[in-house]
Amino acid sequence: MNPNLSLWLIPVLPLAGAAINGFFGRKSSRTAVSTVALVFSGTAFLWALTVAWRASSIPLPYQEYLAHWVRSGSFSVDFAFYLDQLSLVMLLVVTGVGFLIHIYSIGYMWEEPGYYRFFSYLNLFMFFMLTLVLANNYLVMFIGWEGVGLASYLLIGFWFTKDSAASAGKKAFIVNRIGDFGFLIGLFLLIQHFGTLNFTQVFDQVKPLAVESSGAGLLTAIGILFMVGACGKSAQIPLYVWLPDAMEGPTPVSALIHAATMVTAGVYMVSRSHVIFEKAPIALAIVAIIGTLTALFAATIGVTQTDIKKVLAYSTVSQLGYMFMACGVGAFSAGIFHLMTHAFFKGLLFLAAGSVIHAIGGEQDMRKMGGLRSYIPWTFLTMGIATLAISGIPPFAGFWSKDEILYKAYQTSWIYWLIGVITAFITSFYMFRLLFMTFFGDYRGAHVDEHGQLHSVHGPDLHRDDAHGHGEPHESPWVMLGPLVVLALLSTIGGLVGIGNHFEHFLAPVFGSEYPQKIAEGSGVNELLLMVISVILALAGATLAYVLYVSKPELPEKITDRMHGLYEAVLNKYYVDEFYAALFVKPLIGVSTSVLWKGVDRKIIDDSINDAAEGARHVSDNVRHMQSGNLRSYAGWIAAGSAVVIAYMVWLGVGR
């Protein structure tokens, strides 16, 4: 007899909060809105904790059936939830980080119009993300998958009156659609070949199949298609382009959706489908290659960015690349581990960045910051911890997870490792660059005297009514600093669960135990050596950043002058957006306009409908004369009709 965990409460609570705020928030006070949002997301978090506590005493995976959804022949899909170690980790990350960011948002968004809308969307996002994480089949997962896309779209375009925000939202949505297309086709293939979308049923059918090592087969196809979906959602090459633009959204959104949770959905999905990927080495290799390339590629772009949030966005893309690299080399638990630590420190980074932006009245350009250390010490402290964590300096969280990934990558191929280590170096460099540019040196920004004027020039926080009226950068309120501190704590110690492969053992029931054995085979010296190399490189990156941006600030200019072409290319993100525009967008618009709109829509669809209507009018115009209003002609028709019926009956009778 299974205990009832009432899993359904976890997603439904944020949904209720979203509904209440969405329907009644407009008329409610900000306090009421924040109370509702906090209570529902907080309760969800508490319930998730309860579930985690109770789950330790029951056999996992635990399934919870809610209702029928699709019943079509032998194919059926239910609304049902699934809880195992993997979804438990995701559950805690999503609700925990989500709750912290909710708290943070109260302070950050307090002055915004549409306050209720923001929290309604945020809770809605929570609902969909939790649905995604808890689904017991691919279709319910897909609901969450699409739902978080929707929430992301709504939140990126939160300042929808601003063109760039609106188009960034659309871009995110459309790019995600491309990925979803792949995902959907993968689902169709699953339905066709396995007749079900239920995780356990699919995996039970996949497990006995042979590994497709010699050539690409069905599982490879499904894996690659799933990876396409994951690329869209998790911003991997070639579909990463939306994530930097998504920074148009409010900073807490960037922290929650575009750093900590939603973008990791792809990683989660790939990990969840690990059974399929393990049977498809080619797909796995593709995952690894994409992840590795993305990590390096995004990191290089991150070096040149000056917008504090853009730097973090590319950093996120890069870190996601790490995760995919981990998945690609079969180290799913390492990927999830990095996912978790990344959620902590990247969430922290974004929140801290938000705090910085908040402090100086909406400015996002790092060139106009500097020396903020003394103005906002708490922010500096927490951001420093996060930077250490992401750079892989022990004993902070990022070190453990990144090291784990690099070690696993090395076991598969030294190339992955090499690129990973280089990426780690670059990461360390640009993160410290960010830290130094922001907090060290002299304050380069203008003191804000006239409210709003400065804001209108920069930053997405355009609508903020800067009621603080300060001339100096100022520390954020404690409602914002609190989450920072908590996340800093987590970033510091969160990696310790990985010591001695505890985390991996925890996830072992999900991912199987073949890889831990491999680790046991590997020499401890080798692992230690790799660890030392990556730490040294991280410190080197930090030192380089210190040299370039603190001790000799004039040096970067010279370097950029000398390497002008390369710098320009990197600064413009390798012209990928332009390339996409030329390759896809323009032809698409052209074809849509000339063929689809003017050809198909006007000539075929409109004309056929118009002709049909016209024809119907003509016919009825002629036929209506039958409707003469003459009683006896009607009677005649009735008589003729009944005569036909009688004749038929007679014929039946005679012919019997």
Binding site: G629, L631, R632, A635
Partner: protein, 100 residues
């Protein structure tokens, strides 16, 4: 002894005459009477079947048919009077506003 079919044929002829009257008559009252003729034709077959099957229900049906016919003719004639009051004619061919 008269076969049942004779009654049925007679009833059929009466019914057919009713149909014909309905179709070829112009006077709305006559058309109405044609309907009554049809009803009578049907009634005859009811009674004949009742006798044939030894089921008195057939006669009860005829009773109901008569009652309904009475109600129908009362309302129908009232309608005819109302129509005549407004249209000043009893010719159905002239009462043809029921068209486009």
């Amino acid at each position: 002894m008269v076969p049942l079919s004779y009654y049925l044929v007679l009833s059929g002829i009466l019914f057919a005459c009713g149909v014909a009257g309905f179709l070829i008559k112009r006077n709305i009252i006559t058309i109405f009477m044609s309907i009554e003729l049809m009803l009578n034709g049907v009634n005859l077959s009811f009674v004949a079947f009742a006798a044939h099957w030894h089921a008195l229900a057939g006669q009860v049906f005829v009773f109901f048919v008569m009652v309904v016919a009475a109600a129908e003719s009362a309302v129908g004639l009232a309608i005819i009077i109302a129509v005549y009051r407004t249209r000043e004619t009893l010719n159905v061919d002239h009462v043809n506003l029921l068209k486009l």
